[in-house]
């Protein structure tokens, strides 16, 4: 059997190998997705994002267990930052998910960002599709969690859970612009710590400022390490899912995401093409050198590249 057949037949190693190909930009992954594209779109994709130390991995672990208890299969994509200096990465999110390792209904994959900004790796979308084709009912994507610019998750997930911790205080004011738009559901983790109620009120207040939204994100308190509040959180995710499908938002949202992805894809391919094709005469680097040396202006350089494409 080839990889495609093995993937379709539910072979874990085939999925794992295709994920590697997707990450390494090898054409095999794309081929398989192309051929089995009809099988995509069935899984429900949940994004887990939030600041570092909020407990995203633990929360993902517990949500996955809750879904397993309901007989759903689960895929998890956990993204960690790649060092810009060495290209290496330590992928440590699995530490919090040890009991899931040997559950045949769960597949976990750790990824480095490999230079991609926005909180995910470039191959995340392809990874989601492969897990989807493989037949996972739910796919979790855990973002890097290093800061505020993790906007990619919205473009990839159906529901985004924003994980917060008590005592953020002024930080909420500072980062609200970034996060309030991202979260479909807010989970205040470590809610047994002081200040959980205050944090909840602050988030609720900020969410209320945005009145004209059809979906008002719910805010719930959880203690992931003690597995408490998971049913409520899962309930909110289901409500959001119902809302999306009944209001027609799910189709719109996915269409919007596909549009974004399509444009990104085209942009990538054009860039690849430019680097390859213009390189036959003048490389992009050559052009940059000329612009820096004032031998050429930036607009003429752009024109030069466009002409190369049109040929």
């Amino acid at each position: 059997m080839n990889l495609q057949e093995r993937l379709a037949a539910g072979d874990v190693r085939a999925l794992a190998r295709l994920l590697t190909y997707a990450e390494n930009d090898y054409p095999e992954a794309e081929e398989v997705i192309k051929n089995l594209y009809g099988r995509t779109g069935r899984a429900y994709v949940i994004g887990i994002t939030g600041p570092p130390g909020a407990g995203k991995s633990t929360l993902t672990d517990k949500l996955a267990k809750a879904l397993r208890a309901r007989d759903n299969t689960v895929g998890i994509i956990a993204v960690d930052p790649t060092s810009p200096f060495t290209g290496g990465a330590i992928l440590g999110d699995r530490i919090r998910m040890q009991e899931l390792f040997t559950d045949p209904g769960v597949f976990i994959r750790s990824m480095g960002t490999r230079g991609h900004l926005g909180g995910l790796s470039k191959a995340t979308q392809a990874a989601v599709r492969l897990m989807d084709i493989f037949g996972k009912d739910y796919i979790f994507i855990e973002t890097v969690g290093v800061g505020q610019s993790e906007v990619d998750i919205v473009k990839t997930a159906d529901s985004v859970v924003m994980v917060m911790v008590p005592g953020l205080g002024d930080d909420i004011q500072a980062i609200k612009a970034g996060i309030m738009e991202i979260g479909d559901i807010f989970a205040i983790n470590k809610a047994d710590l002081d200040g959980a109620d205050r944090t909840k009120i602050e988030i609720e207040m900020m969410l209320d400022l945005n009145e004209n939204k059809a979906w008002r994100p719910p805010v719930c308190k959880v203690v992931a390490v003690e597995n408490s509040g998971m049913d409520i959180l899962l309930g909110h995710i289901q409500e959001h899912r119902t809302f999306l499908s009944e209001s027609g938002e799910l189709v719109k949202r996915r269409a919007r995401n596909i549009r974004n992805e399509l444009m990104d894809l085209v942009r990538d391919r054009v860039m690849e093409f430019i680097t390859r094709e213009t390189g036959k005469k003048l490389t992009v680097d050559d052009l940059v050198q000329r612009i820096v040396a004032k031998d050429m202006d930036i607009y003429s350089a752009a024109q030069y590249i466009m002409e190369a494409i049109n040929k």
Partner: protein
């Protein structure tokens, strides 16, 4: 650009001495590898399942309790059973010289004993890994 080598750094068995595992994990990262670290007390099943899902090219195990003769071969055999015999398996820790040939016979590619520079382990991996 070269695609990063993916390594699983694993602590099988019950011993809690993870200084070596953590140092080597960092050294691998600084050598440009993607390192999956899963923490203490990993069963062979957990290690093998992780290696497969993560599709790593290398499994590097560290053990200081003396249970290496028991645990390393189990991991190698389980990987083979699952068809992942292309994975390079290396081991480190307090491992007497007498045990090394036995472990190599069992399929562990190399054993790194205390005092081995991290660069030596990195070199070994770079030269012996089967790229995908």
């Amino acid at each position: 650009m070269d695609k990063p080598i993916r390594v699983l750094v694993a602590k099988p068995g019950l011993d809690g001495h993870d200084r070596g595992a953590k140092v080597i994990a960092r050294a691998f990262r600084d050598a440009g590898m993607e390192v999956i670290y899963t923490g203490l007390r990993q069963t062979p099943e957990q290690i093998v399942e992780t290696a497969i899902q993560e599709d790593v090219e290398v499994v590097a195990m560290s053990i200081l309790s003396g249970a290496h003769n028991h645990l390393f071969p189990i991991v190698v055999n389980m990987l083979r059973e699952r068809g992942a015999d292309d994975v390079l398996v290396v081991g480190g820790g307090v491992i007497p010289d007498d045990d090394i040939p036995v472990l190599k016979e069992a399929g562990v590619a190399e054993i790194f004993t205390p005092g081995t520079p991290t660069t030596k382990a990195i070199e070994f991996i770079k030269q012996n890994v089967k790229r995908k």
